[in-house]
């Protein structure tokens, strides 16, 4: 009845850990938000709120040049997107509406023709928008004029005088959509702009660190200190600036930035991408990297994160820091900046700060090289954020602890080679050369370590705009160009030396023998770029994504099996006590539990976020990273390898029956909601996965578990490592000698390790014994000792009624005898030791008081527990309200009134003992009189001894030898320690609580309730109720319910001891009756539990009803507003630029075209200089009336 299917599913998962764990939805169907973020390189906090088809009009640049033919400006058709803090325009026709298909959402993953995923357009932070005006257009269209804060940093002092220099950046956007859609969009924009007013200060600070601000400042205003553009400003940039034509590039960029806005207000036009392909000028390189990779938006989000992180962790140490220190002196040692304290200091700080903010990654060799390279061109803070973007977005998983990203991309690369260069691939296979031994460093250090620096930076320039596919394109081009030589290489060594050679000669002519001087001038590097981006232009982002997806499983499995192998082998010598098979199972379960818990946490969190979002309609900053659902899988780099107490319980519940809670509150409650009325109608189908324990059995919480946990937790870190768990298990299960187990059990209860266990401890031990045996004993039990000859052999399945019961009952007797004997043979404490050895409570409280305390504690516990703790044995359907009353009633100071106040609980254990007797006759009892008599005798004896022993004025303790003797005196106890306790850990096969369906659960609950019943009946307390409620986590995350229940169980037993004189027969009868009853009641109970919980969750559930995205009303209007073709004529409008500069740009095209055609390429900007297509699109926009909002904050 505990939904069988979910267990089967779970079992399958355990058998095949790859199943059900992999390839989450987010992998195959990345969320629209994450696609949106990666297209515009926005932080995770941004979500696509509104989008609309639009036409962008950029006015002619009339400041730097008065070209007449540019009057019409530039027109781009595309989509305008609005997120919480950004307004983005892109010519890439992608849509991120909820209703949009995956293909339109991932349109950017296709060929981008050098434009990068975000295409032409802009990505404005709303805080960079100064003013938005709504223009009335002739043809009933919406048009917005957007004025930005471009140049904000320099217009402060003498506005009037500089007006000519600082032109206001003003663009026009025509919205093409239904009126409603346009209105909606504008409303959203208005709201966003209002919220963004406060961020302008932040924006100023961030762009103040951008070199472009300095570059565009008029000469007389240039302050002495330009913004930090990296170590290159001090130690020179790599390469010969003349050869790199740095000045010319700088002039081109200055012009572009003047015309199209700088840093965050930059508008991407085709020239932008061309300028990047020819290589960035040194001083702007850092800024453009920051812009194209999107790391500037991260910096904008939290500009002080870098400094704050360093300040927060100043003086602290970590493993990562040790590793960083080792590598500081050997990061780009050939660059003078890194031979100086200045450069090394920067490197240290950036790497350290990153290791703090992303402790999961920490530090990985190769990061030092990448960061060192970044630092040549950018400030520390810029490098820090760019490193974050790299690790999270651009090369995810490359530097993680398992480096799965690196390995995965190697597989992807290999399959690309196989696909594009089959002959070379065949050759590699034949010669048994493993490609990744060569290519892995390329990817891992982004070619920085492989090529001469100047060329590696050129690759990086493109990489940051166009994304990871660039690494593959370049890699393939390298192999293609060297194909012939590589075919001659027959082993790794030869292979490597061919490529080493090649890299060393990248600056040489690609065609040294050519007649054509133009062709001769083409360097090998240029050839490489051309091959990479022309020949392999078919390698797109989606190619890579697809192949990553395809290979992911295999790679992760490989890593995981390696990790498992290694982890198991590296476990200490104690692990040898367990078989390899057992170790493997423990390993799987250990990480399985951690993984599942993380998944559930995440789901729960997402659910909360979803609710929150639905509540407040829109715009809620989401804390959950939606793309990250897979966290926790070992292969991805364990985000945690530590098991906390709750996870430990869950772990044990998977291998030991006794660790499973008695009241499975988490069973399907959807079925129980039938009488819940409207409140339950909104129940989600996935509710069960929202329970803190998932689909698995709910773990119990008992003091024994806690003791076990702290015992295994050697270093008291409140968390267990795999090593801890294995060592712990090995000590119980591995030795298989009774003395060892007995000792272990004793030590477990010897709190101060002095070899003595006091009265309290003795009671705890017996509680633990009852706890462990409440689902029946396992292991080899001696047939002969069974009075009825029906003793089970081997493992006792819970469904096996008769023998199970008899053993349980006998074991109950054994435990009673155990207590009695313990007290009988206990040594009195030395008076002087008394204080230290006796818990305070013991010294002061008389048994009665003790009992009272117990009840009070129980109240507290019950308060925490889920109300359905009371559900067991209740056959009244409408008890919800009463039950709540009971909770209150429990708080009354004495025990007796409570008895009367519990009319709702029909279980007889809760009624005065006298009535118990009557009940026995009604309950079907198969117990022999013989047994009952025996039990009665035992009880009597017990009580006599125990009552004396319980006198707190006679403190006492038992020692290990005494304990051992007492245990060995009882055959059943002996067997318990000999085999059934060690056997109760089913490491390999696990337990399947559902194997016998409802029957077994019922029986389990029955046997456990019997013990509760004993306590309750004898002790006149109701604390056993708590036992029933054990583990009954209240709805949602509340796990304290279990705690409450256990406390109750303990007190119940205390009751047994205090009132041990009570007739044993009654106990036995009660046990029997309760077992039967509980069995019958279980189904009902589960249902009621469901109702209870449903009630508790009402508020939450309400929120669910109102679903449906805030944006769904937006419909896509039209298919772009016509307008001019995207390609503007570039070359014609560059009057201010020297002709030599223009040559450079021509070079860009030369590089992007086929090498053979190179020679003929004399003319302007090649194919990209298309016909200016703007045909008066702007004409329809008149600026007659300004309706818009103005924000001059």
């Amino acid at each position: 009845m505990l939904n069988l299917s979910s267990f089967v599913q779970k079992a399958q998962q355990l058998l095949d850990p790859t199943q059900g764990l992999n390839l989450t939805d987010s992998d195959k169907n990345p969320s629209k938000a994450s696609l949106f973020q990666s297209q515009f390189r926005l932080p995770d906090s941004q979500h696509p709120l509104y989008e609309i088809t639009a036409e962008l009009t950029i006015p002619p640049s009339n400041v730097t040049q008065g070209g007449k033919d540019q009057d019409r400006g530039f027109h781009y058709a595309g989509k305008l997107h609005l997120s919480e803090q950004y307004l983005c325009f892109s010519t890439t026709p992608s849509s991120f509406l909820q209703s949009a298909s995956t293909s339109t959402s991932s349109a950017f993953t296709g060929q981008t023709h050098g434009g990068g995923p975000s295409g032409n357009g802009f990505t404005f932070p709303l805080s960079s928008i100064r003013r938005v005006e709504r223009l009335h257009s002739q043809n009933f269209q919406f048009a917005l004029a957007i004025t930005t804060w471009n140049g904000i940093s320099q217009d402060a002092p003498k506005e009037t005088k500089d007006k000519k220099e600082v032109r206001e950046q003003r663009i026009t956007i025509q919205l093409a959509g239904t009126r409603v859609a346009c209105e909606r969009f504008c409303d959203g924009l208005k709201k966003g702009l209002r919220a963004a007013v406060g961020h302008v200060g932040k924006l100023k600070k961030v762009i103040g660190e951008c070199y472009s601000e300095y570059l565009l400042r008029p000469e007389e205003q240039k302050s002495a200190n330009p913004p930090d553009a990296g170590l290159g400003m001090i130690f020179r940039y790599p390469g010969d600036p003349k050869k790199l034509r740095d000045r010319a590039k700088m002039r081109l960029w200055a012009e572009y930035l003047r015309d199209n806005g700088r840093n965050v207000t930059l508008i991407r036009q085709p020239t932008f991408h061309k300028l990047i392909r020819v290589g960035l000028p040194n001083r702007l390189r850092g800024e453009i990297w920051e812009l194209t990779s999107g790391s500037i938006y991260l910096r904008l989000e939290n500009p002080t994160l870098y400094a704050d992180t360093l300040a927060k962790h100043v003086g602290k140490e970590s493993l990562a820091i040790d590793e960083i220190e080792k590598d500081l002196n050997r990061s780009l040692p050939e660059y003078p900046g890194f031979q100086s304290e200045e450069g090394i200091g920067r490197l240290r700080r950036v790497l350290t700060a990153y290791s703090w903010v992303n402790a999961d990654v920490g530090y990985c060799q190769a990061m030092n090289i990448v960061v060192a390279a970044l630092l040549i061109y950018m400030s520390e803070a810029q490098a820090f954020f760019l490193l974050s973007t790299l690790c999270d977005r651009l090369v995810p998983g490359y530097y993680s602890t398992t480096m799965y990203g690196t390995l995965l991309d190697q597989k992807v690369f290999e399959s690309l080679v196989e696909r594009t260069m089959p002959i070379l691939w065949e050759h590699l296979v034949k010669c048994d050369v493993q490609l990744s031994v060569v290519s892995l460093p390329w990817f891992l250090s982004l070619y920085i370590n492989s090529m001469p620096l100047v060329f590696a930076f050129r690759v990086l320039d493109v990489f940051f705009v166009e994304g990871p596919k660039v690494l593959f394109q370049v890699g393939l081009a390298i192999l293609r160009i060297n194909g012939e030589e590589l075919l001659d290489a027959a082993d790794d060594g030869a292979f490597i030396s061919v490529l080493k050679n090649y890299f060393a000669r990248l600056d040489e002519s690609a065609h040294p023998k050519s007649e054509n001087p133009k062709l001769r001038a083409v360097t090998r590097f240029q050839e490489l770029m051309v091959v990479a981006f022309k020949e392999f232009s078919g390698i797109t982002h989606s190619t890579i994504t697809e192949l990553r997806l395809k290979n992911k499983d295999a790679v992760l499995n490989n890593i995981e099996s390696f990790a498992k192998r290694t982890a198991i082998r590296n476990l200490g010598p104690e692990s040898k006590l367990l078989s390899t098979q057992e170790l493997g199972a423990v390993y799987d379960r250990f990480y399985g539990v951690l993984y599942e818990r993380q998944q559930r946490d995440l789901l729960i969190k997402q659910e909360e976020v979803r609710r929150a979002r639905n509540n407040r309609i829109s715009r809620i900053g989401q804390a959950v990273d939606e793309g990250n659902v897979e966290k926790g899988r070992v292969g991805l780099g364990p985000s945690t390898s530590l098991m906390d107490y709750d996870a430990f319980r869950e772990f044990l519940a998977g291998i030991a029956k006794w660790a499973v809670s008695d009241s499975p509150t988490q069973s399907r409650r959807d079925t129980g909601s039938s009488n819940g009325g409207g409140f339950y109608n909104s129940f989600r189908k996935n509710e069960s996965s929202m329970s803190p324990w998932g689909n698995g059995p709910e773990p119990a919480d008992h003091e024994f578990l806690r003791r076990l946990f702290s015992k295994w937790d050697f270093d008291s870190s409140s968390a267990l490592t795999l090593q801890n768990v294995v060592t712990g298990l090995a000590r119980i299960k591995g030795k298989r000698d009774i003395m060892g187990t007995i000792n272990y059990f004793f030590e477990l209860h010897d709190d101060d390790g002095d070899g003595k266990v006091d009265r309290e401890g003795i009671l705890r031990m017996s509680e633990a014994l009852l706890f462990l045996s409440r689902r029946g004993l396992e292991g080899a039990l001696d047939r002969a000792t069974a009075p009825n000859g029906m003793m089970t052999e081997g493992m006792v399945t819970p469904g096996n009624d008769v023998p199970d019961q008899s053993i349980n009952e006998r074991f109950l007797g054994s435990v009673s005898a155990f207590i009695r004997r313990c007290f009988e043979y206990a040594d009195p404490d030395h008076p002087t030791n008394q204080n230290s050895q006796q818990p305070a409570q013991q010294q002061t409280a008389s048994p009665q008081e003790d009992n009272l305390i117990a009840i009070d504690d129980d109240d507290a516990a019950a308060g925490l527990a889920d109300p359905d703790a009371f559900a067991i044995g209740d056959d009244d359907d409408d008890f919800d309200e009463e039950n709540d009353d009971d909770l209150l009633a429990m708080e009354s100071p004495t025990a007796s009134p409570r008895l009367a106040k519990r009319p709702d609980t029909a279980t007889s254990s809760l009624q005065p003992p006298s009535s118990l007797h009557l009940d026995t006759s009604t309950g079907p009892s198969s117990m022999s009189n013989n047994d009952e008599d025996h039990r009665r005798r035992v009880s009597r004896q017990q009580s006599e001894k125990a009552n004396i022993a319980l006198d707190p004025n006679n403190p006492l303790h038992i020692t290990l030898p005494t304990f051992r003797m007492v245990v060995l005196a009882d055959e059943l106890l002996e067997q318990f320690f000999e085999s059934s306790f060690p056997c109760s850990f089913h490491l390999i096969e696990g337990i399947n609580m559902c194997s016998s369906g409802g029957n077994s659960s019922g029986n389990n609950a029955g046997s456990s309730s019997s013990y509760g019943g004993v306590g309750g009946a004898l002790g006149n307390t109701f604390s056993n109720i708590g036992f029933f409620g054990g583990g009954a986590g209240a709805g949602g995350n509340n796990q304290q319910g279990g705690g409450g229940g256990v406390a109750g169980a303990g007190r119940g037993l205390r009751g047994v001891l205090d009132n041990i004189v009570t007739d044993g027969m009654r106990v036995a009868a009660e046990v029997r009756r309760r077992m039967e009853e509980a069995q019958r009641e279980l189904e009902k109970n589960a249902m009621q539990a469901g109702q209870q919980r449903a009630g508790a969750n009402r508020d939450d559930e309400d929120d669910d009803e109102d679903d449906g995205g805030p944006v769904e009303g937006l419909s896509l209007g039209g298919n772009g507003g016509g307008g001019g073709s995207a390609a503007g004529s570039v070359s014609e409008r560059r009057g201010g630029v020297r002709s030599s500069d223009r040559d450079l740009l021509t070079g860009a095209d030369a590089e992007a075209s086929d090498p053979t055609a190179e020679a003929q390429l004399q003319h302007g900007a090649g194919e990209a200089s298309g016909i200016a297509g703007g045909n008066g699109g702007a004409g329809s926009v008149t600026t007659a009336k300004v309706v818009g909002v103005e924000f001059d904050g």
Binding site: E323, L487, G538, A563, R565
Partner: protein, 236 residues
């Protein structure tokens, strides 16, 4: 490849270096290959590849040395490098007990996962930091920051490591890459320990062909690339 008509038969041996970070793997290789010692070597990304010949009386062994990165997380890459290796140098640091544990892990990994019959040498490096160092006086001026004041920083006794090595059937050496002590000996011992038989089928399937057939193959391959290359270029 290596079938030069040298007077002595020559064959390649793939050797991989494994061990905890900063035990001196790269330094050992550098000493062996270049007879040099460097303070700041670039960190090994993935693995470094070097070759060096080792002259034995009867034959010449050309070592193809894969020097792997020591950082823990690179461990998952190791199988890529020790694949097909005929010899392995598992290095630990005499002054760092954890490094021997790590070395034992590597030995176990190799024994279970690497090609059968792999020759493994256990090498305790940084002998120059111990009092029984034989050559610490010879080389100076490197200013090794690891140098201990008191002289003996040894934490792992020769006995302990040797016993372990004998149990596992490993070659065992204590070396100093800094002074050069015992370094060549390690490699020579490995060269001697490689069985003749494994040298014949040293490399993968490609290498097992006879000389004639290989040249033929290569000729085919040489012709091959041009046509398909051109075709693909058009397709793109």
């Amino acid at each position: 490849m290596a079938d030069t008509n040298a007077p002595k038969p020559s064959s390649s041996v793939k050797l991989v270096l494994l061990g905890e970070a900063a035990v001196g793997k790269s330094s050992l290789v550098l000493r062996f290959v270049n007879n040099d010692f460097q303070e700041n070597k670039e960190p090994t990304i993935g693995a470094a590849f070097l070759t060096q010949k080792c002259n034995l009386p009867t034959r010449t062994i050309k070592f193809e040395i894969w020097d792997t990165a020591g950082q823990e997380r690179f461990a998952s890459l190791a199988p890529m490098y020790y694949r097909n290796a005929q010899a392995a140098l598992v290095v630990y640091d005499l002054t760092k007990p954890t490094s021997l544990i790590k070395a034992k892990h590597w030995v176990a990994e190799l024994q279970r996962q690497a090609s059968p019959g792999i020759v493994i040498a256990l090498v305790g490096n940084k002998l120059d930091l111990t009092s029984d160092s034989t050559g610490s006086a010879e080389v100076s001026g490197d200013g090794d920051d690891n140098a201990e004041d008191s002289g003996d920083a040894r934490k792992i006794s020769t006995e302990e490591a040797k016993t372990y090595a004998e149990e596992e059937g490993l070659l065992f050496f204590e070396t100093s890459a800094k002074t050069g002590h015992n370094v060549t000996e390690v490699f020579t011992a490995i060269a001697n320990a490689i069985p003749e038989t494994s040298l014949k089928s040293a490399r993968g399937p490609g290498a097992s062909h006879a000389g004639v057939s290989r040249t033929e193959e290569q000729r085919v391959n040489l012709n091959g690339p041009r046509d398909p290359n051109a075709k693909e270029a058009c397709a793109c």
